[in-house]
Symmetry: C2
Subunit: 341 residues, 2 copies
């Protein structure tokens, strides 16, 4: 294709919060679908806290993005050229397209879950990056498989208005739990209670998390789904019940540290309470995503489940949008709109 | 009985390491067996890191020792008077006798596991405070139930020459694991390798734990049984495998802190590795102690399992002996000999 592909590449490994000079904006030719592959026009990209980790050197659950490489990002888009029997022009697909306008996908990258057709009757494209996408899968399996909530138990989730938190809380409500969110700001707290049906939400910017937990979790905390780490994790540890399960999904408060991560000082509460803290990575459930999508889509159709996205428009605004995640400026799952369908 | 009972009581809540003025040495009459109860002559007392926690105010898995109360301690002794049908004069028993020479036990304190007859054919009295007592039970169930080691996996245990560590390592060897200890000093390291059959032992006082783990755990760490917390826990976290299990049994490095406990900075390794950290309290397996005693006694008889105790003699030396635990001066399970049989 005789078109220009704008791309954003990692120019340097950030110290602390990523800054403009950590990125380079480049252009290149779009080209054609590779032999046996497809060419995708990117429509929306997902902005996720985990991206910050991918920018660091060192061993993790996936290799870091190399300096000079297009920044890794999940997205949804439309197939505009195909040399693969399984995909036709016009198919809506999700995959790890990267921060660019077009993505050529070689056959090796298609299997087994590299490129997935999505059904826009089940949800909008942004929802396919939220409740029906990675954050939703993370929340669904992390809560149900690792958190093991039982009806009547109290589930606390931090980052409650964020992509993962929304789904954690709503699934926990559907499973009959008392659900208390932790979020930054009154608007977010009101949203998760009024719109998403949480039982309560603690505004960590507006008051004491400790007091909020005392008030809203009179029976203690049975499951804590942690997206933030830091002081909030430490405070929740003082309120857990016997045999509590703490799901370590992320630690957004620590991702831009230039000093060592703050470990949870109160981790000995695990001992006193015979409790468990366990880390999760969503890819481990890749062969079961279909089950979660089906359930969440059904709950959405039945009006039991809502999905809120915060859409920033324009590929070039990627660095600015990413920073919103770490200041908490986004309200709902943050997505970058790259192009109209 | 017309005899004097010497007792050691908690006089003040210690700041940091307990000091002499935190104790009071008192004497009182021994008295008789209470109605429906028994009178025990204390022979050996167990000295355990957990004691330090019992001296602090605040919520824990058991209430703190009150100021002015006889210090809580487990022990073994001989029934010297009985008004209870289940116990006869001369029976050897174990129970929470406290730091004193004689203990009168009311019927309410006998059931269900407050006073247990012990069989001195299965092990010596000090062994009944070690491998056949609380440390052995803690090690046996914490390792097997919470650690879930599989044959061929690598198990690391800190405090390896101590009461719990000895049993953890030997049981893990019996289960077919590679076992690497961490202990302070060459003598202790040599002991666990030569006498107890560990595959290797890292001397944290003599070198780098990180280097030792690299050398002795070439396949990474599948189970870490942590008795010490602090820097060692943090270092092991950098070497764990996927789905590793970290058993939080204690944190002796942190018990005398006057500053906040050092939380594990590397806890996000749990996330990357989908690993689990879980706290244990031995009392949860109280109804299964018999099973563990039977297995450990059989292994001892078969020459597959050794038990090493470090005996300090004299009730009045309790404060000095307790301090040995925290400096690591003891070599093997530390017990206080209060009287000859």
């Amino acid at each position: 294709m005789n078109t220009i592909n704008r791309q954003i590449r990692l120019a340097a490994r950030p110290q602390g919060l990523p800054k403009d000079s950590d990125w380079s904006h480049t252009t290149g030719p779009v080209g054609d679908a590779p032999d046996g592959g497809v060419l995708v026009k990117v429509l929306y990209l997902s902005l996720d806290p985990a991206m910050r980790g991918w920018m660091n050197e060192g061993r993790s659950y996936i290799p870091p993005v190399g300096i000079g490489e297009v920044m890794r990002a999940g997205g949804v888009g439309r197939v505009i050229a195909s040399r693969h029997a399984g995909f036709a022009v016009g198919d809506m697909v999700s995959g790890a397209f990267g921060v660019q306008e077009y993505c050529a996908i070689a056959p090796a990258a298609i299997k087994p879950v590299g490129l997935v057709k999505i059904d826009t009757r089940a949800g909008t494209l942004p929802q396919w990056l939220n409740a029906l996408g990675m954050p939703g899968m993370t929340a669904y399996f992390g809560l149900l498989e690792t958190g093991q909530p039982k009806a009547g138990e109290t589930v606390v989730v931090s980052g409650a208005a964020g992509a993962v938190g929304q789904t954690v809380g709503q699934v926990a409500k559907i499973k009959g739990c008392r659900v208390v969110g932790i979020a930054g700001g009154r608007d977010k707290c009101e949203f998760v209670v009024r719109e998403l049906g949480f039982d309560a939400c603690i505004d960590y910017k507006g008051g004491s998390v400790r007091d909020g937990l005392k008030e809203h979790c009179p029976q203690g905390v049975d499951v804590y789904f942690d997206n933030v780490g830091g002081e909030i994790l430490d405070t929740v540890l003082t309120r857990i019940n016997r045999r509590a399960r703490i799901v370590i999904c992320g630690a957004i408060s620590q991702y831009n540290n230039t000093t060592p991560v703050k470990g949870p000082s109160n981790y000995l509460s695990l001992l006193v309470n015979r409790a468990r803290m366990e880390g999760i990575v969503v890819f481990d459930w890749a062969d079961r995503y279909g089950e979660a999508v089906q359930n969440i889509a059904a709950w959405m159709r039945a009006g039991k489940f809502k999905s809120r996205e915060d859409v920033v428009e324009g590929l070039e605004r990627f660095p600015e949008a990413l920073a919103m995640l770490f200041s908490g400026a986004n309200f709902g799952k943050l997505v970058l709109k790259v192009a109209s369908e």
